[in-house]
């Protein structure tokens, strides 16, 4: 079987099950980036973890590349990067440039530039969330790929931090991961300053996940968020809890955009238009100071 966006949550616990310091991926013929990213996160956390694959399946060579030691950040053909505070732009740019440059010929160069802007914005904000709020000891992993046959883009950001509930429970009076994820998708919701994070000394408003949500909704994309035990899916404007028995510590955000709809949105809105119309319509009405 393949590990894909569709069955990722259903398969998650089996896929990540560690038995005697080994993870068995022999059943998986192909593993989409989100699965590879999850394995990478686990390996960073536990370098002795053994991933057992089947040499006759594509996932085997994929994972072997993943496991190459030392990790070579200049292998930009491989759609995975480890991100820390200092290299968010540099490393997300590698993934996004690769995705956009390999995307369909139906997109003109100008369209690709706009798409590039959307993706850089979204991944930049997701990585800020992952690094500043999560206290993840492995920093964050970003992986992504353009699937030409299916005409879709998949991007994921993964951390091994505290999750949404830890960050939001006091400020927003939520007591379950599912409620915390839903709250995090609302406009202007952000966690308060975290005393343990040296880089983060001030409170701020959050629009990163909300921006992602609005873009997903507007272009019929798909989004899955896992925060510790809970996974939530956004599709067709609805937020649905998929499972509350996920065996994970931290946050996984994975989204997919379909090329057909990407083309439509690029014809309608530049990034600037999109944010003006859908995000900042209620906020930007004061006197402009710049």
């Amino acid at each position: 079987m393949n590990l894909t966006f569709e069955n990722f949550v259903e398969e998650f616990n089996r896929f990540t099950e560690v038995v005697q310091n080994k993870i068995n991926i022999k059943d998986y013929y192909f593993i989409e980036p989100v699965g590879v990213g999850v394995l990478k996160a686990l390996i960073i956390e536990n370098p002795d973890l053994d991933i057992c694959g089947d040499p006759s399946k594509p996932s085997y060579s994929y994972i072997n590349t993943l496991l190459s030691v030392p990790y070579n950040k200049y292998k930009n053909y491989f759609p995975l990067e480890i991100v820390d505070f200092n290299n968010i732009e540099e490393n997300s740019m590698k993934i996004i440039n690769l995705i956009v440059s390999s995307s369909s010929y139906t997109l003109k160069e100008d369209d690709k530039e706009v798409l590039n802007g959307y993706l850089k914005y979204l991944t930049g904000e997701l990585l800020n969330n992952a690094l500043y709020h999560s206290l993840s000891e492995i920093n964050a992993v970003i992986a992504g790929q353009y699937f030409s046959k299916r005409g879709k883009i998949q991007i994921c950001v993964i951390d091994r931090g505290k999750g949404f509930l830890f960050n939001l429970k006091e400020a927003y009076k939520v007591s379950a991961e599912s409620d915390a994820i839903k709250k995090a998708l609302e406009k202007g919701v952000s966690s308060p300053p975290c005393k343990d994070n040296l880089y983060y000394s001030v409170g701020h408003a959050g629009y990163g996940l909300y921006a992602l949500r609005r873009i997903i909704e507007e272009i019929n994309g798909r989004l899955i968020i896992i925060s510790n035990n809970c996974s939530v899916k956004l599709e067709g404007g609805n937020i649905k809890i998929l499972s509350e028995e996920i065996n994970w510590k931290g946050v996984i955000v994975v989204f997919e955009l379909l090329e057909t709809y990407i083309y439509d949105i690029l014809q309608k809105y530049t990034l600037q238009d999109f944010f003006k119309i859908f995000l900042w319509n209620e906020d930007g009405k004061d006197d402009e100071i710049f």
Binding site: N86, K120, G124, H204, Q272, D283, F290
Partner: protein
Amino acid sequence: MEIVKLKGFFPDLDNLTSRYKGLVIRKTIEKALEKGNKVIIDFEGFDLITQSFGDEIIGVIIRSKGVEFVKNHISVININGQIKDVLNFVASYSKRMRIA
């Protein structure tokens, strides 16, 4: 008057999305302000910033010193519409957060 030229800090980038790089710039801005200088932020060579980056360089200062202070001490040059919108958006909610 001190010009903070972002390209001088990040010559290989054309977008600024991280809070960390925003923090680097804010520290530079704050040093100039402490000396009594006005600051011009030069965005030449950049076509995109995130709300997080904008929040770090402008929002934080507005929330601590007020919007009038920023109006009187910080200006920007070579910005496109996207960057201008982000900065004004950040300024708008930061002003309200300070009042609240």
